[in-house]
């Protein structure tokens, strides 16, 4: 980490091949990190960096990357757009502040603050690693044959153990549910596809039952006639709504008839 921190300056100068570039991007994570490294190049207090300069450098960076045909994550491009916007706001003469707009100065001071926070967290991580560590700088007792006083509890388990145990069980249950879930129904999607395909060319009324699939068309168990009819009717109603067909039933308990709608609504 400390020693392996890649040299972002070099990377930025373009002394990279595509592969290394991508790897470095992974290492860095994202736009805020790139910005932070660019900001560090300005070698000033992070609170006083020029956001304008930073925005310019970042845009150059993005353009360069584009020229190199590097696939950039959308994060990078969104950040670029945002910075371009901020830059233009900073450059434009000041106008009356609209109520719903935050002044670019505030935006850029916040950005500077965020960079400073990220920077201090990064440094803090390195400082933690510089602390004396056990089994490196200091050692516990070597012999362990003595009685081990364990006062906390005899049984050890942590929350992760517990959650994993739970997950193991429930993931198993999931498989069971899957098997049960295979209920032979003629799905609405299937009915819709079949009906679309079979709509007659003329405007003769036909029994809706005629559009039911043949037995051999089903792969697994054959769904009940009721299921087939219900789905065909649902799909049919949908098509009526779209003006593709007409449906009619002359009286209760009678069959439902289907006809192609030759005069679709304009």
């Amino acid at each position: 980490m400390k020693q392996s921190a890649p040299d972002q300056a070099n990377l930025f100068e373009g002394e990279y091949d595509n592969k290394a570039f991508i790897v470095e991007l992974d290492e860095y994570g994202g736009p805020l990190h790139i910005l932070l490294n660019l900001a560090r190049e300005q070698k000033v207090d992070l609170a006083r960096i020029s956001i304008l300069k930073l925005a310019e450098q970042y845009l150059v960076f993005i353009n360069k990357a584009k020229r190199e045909n590097i696939e950039l994550a959308s994060d990078y491009l969104v950040m670029a757009a945002w910075l371009a916007y901020l830059k233009s706001r900073l450059l434009l003469p000041k106008r009356e502040n609209k109520e719903d707009e935050v002044s670019p100065e505030i935006l850029s001071s916040h950005l500077a603050w965020r960079l400073k926070r990220l920077d201090s967290m990064r440094k803090a991580g390195e400082k933690i690693y510089e602390l004396p560590q056990m089994r490196i700088d200091s050692f516990a007792r070597g012999i362990n044959d003595e009685l081990a006083p364990e006062v906390l509890s005899i049984y050890e388990a942590d929350i992760i153990d517990l959650l994993r145990a739970y997950g193991r069980q429930r993931n198993k249950v999931k498989a069971k549910i899957h098997k049960v879930a295979q209920w032979p129904v003629y799905s609405l999607e299937d009915a819709r596809a079949a009906l679309k395909h079979k709509v007659p060319r003329d405007d003769k009324w036909r029994d809706l039952g005629e559009f039911a699939p043949k037995k051999y068309e089903f792969k697994g168990e054959i769904p009940s006639a009721k299921s087939q009819y219900a789905s065909l009717l649902s799909a049919g109603l949908e098509m009526v709504k779209q003006g593709e067909i007409n449906l009619r039933q002359l009286e209760i308990y009678d069959k439902v008839y289907l006809q192609k709608n030759l005069k679709p609504k304009s």
């Binding site: 012999i143 997950g167 999931k174």
Partner: protein, 246 residues
């Protein structure tokens, strides 16, 4: 006005620093008065960190030529006389060990930390999420029957307790987790148990679960109509407050 807290903080910090420096000075003075030589310190650390007793020649090999190991060992042994830890020479070499007369306070709790068995851990997890739940429900989720010992063990270590009886045929007993359970797992309440989304984000639950798959929120189940409160004195106040505010 706005910098007042800062000033106060700074004064507090300065006082702390002074106190620390004073302590350091005292320590240093004491240290100098102790007159511990470097060889003695080194031998002390070596014997302490070594997994096996070390012979004088082992120590010599580590500390280099011309070091008087013998007299340093003698000094070190003298230093530990009467303390809770002793420097002992055994057949194999020198080692530190606790004083014999203190064995009783060490022996008293000789138990080794043990891992909870897989069955016990799984049962515990199911009770935690699905409580109050019956033995039959645990068995249904685990897909195997529950040995008697498992629930007994969980109750013995006070992580699980019997709850009320379910108002269903056979009036089965339900089980719940205890406050000790919450304390051991650093949970401030049952609703601290992560839900489906988090379990999936952590890769603990499979990502492609059926839509109707649910991870119960245990806190929601606490006041269950199906239950008969068996123990009139058992009021679960904190649970009530939780329900009330949710």
């Amino acid at each position: 006005m706005s910098d007042e807290p800062n000033t106060e903080q700074e004064i507090a910090r300065a006082i702390k620093d002074l106190a620390r420096q004073k302590l350091d000075l005292v320590d240093t003075a004491e240290f100098l008065a102790k007159n511990i030589d470097q060889v003695e310190r080194q031998i002390e650390a070596l014997l302490f960190a070594s997994p096996i007793p070390l012979r004088a020649q082992d120590l010599a090999a580590r500390l280099g030529e011309g070091v008087d190991i013998g007299s340093a060992l003698a000094r070190l042994k003298r230093h530990y006389v009467g303390r809770g830890v002793q420097l002992i020479e055994t057949g194999g070499g020198w080692r530190f060990q606790t004083a014999f007369d203190l064995a009783p306070i060490l022996e008293e709790h000789k138990e080794e930390p043990r891992k909870l068995s897989r069955a016990a851990l799984e049962t515990l997890a199911i009770i935690a999420y699905h409580q109050p739940c019956t033995r039959a429900e645990i068995e249904e989720i685990r897909g195997v029957s529950l040995s008697r010992g498992t629930l007994d063990l969980l109750m013995e270590i006070k992580w699980v307790r019997p709850g009320a009886r379910r108002r269903s045929p056979g009036k089965p007993l339900t089980y719940r987790t205890t406050n000790e359970f919450l304390a051991h797992f650093n949970l401030s309440g049952l609703d601290d148990l992560p839900g489906k989304t988090e379990l999936q984000a952590q890769g603990i639950l499979s990502a492609n679960l059926p839509k109707d798959f649910e991870v119960p929120r245990p806190s929601q189940n606490i006041q269950n109509d199906d239950e008969i409160i068996e123990n009139p004195f058992e009021t679960n106040e904190s649970d009530f407050v939780q329900d009330f505010f949710e």
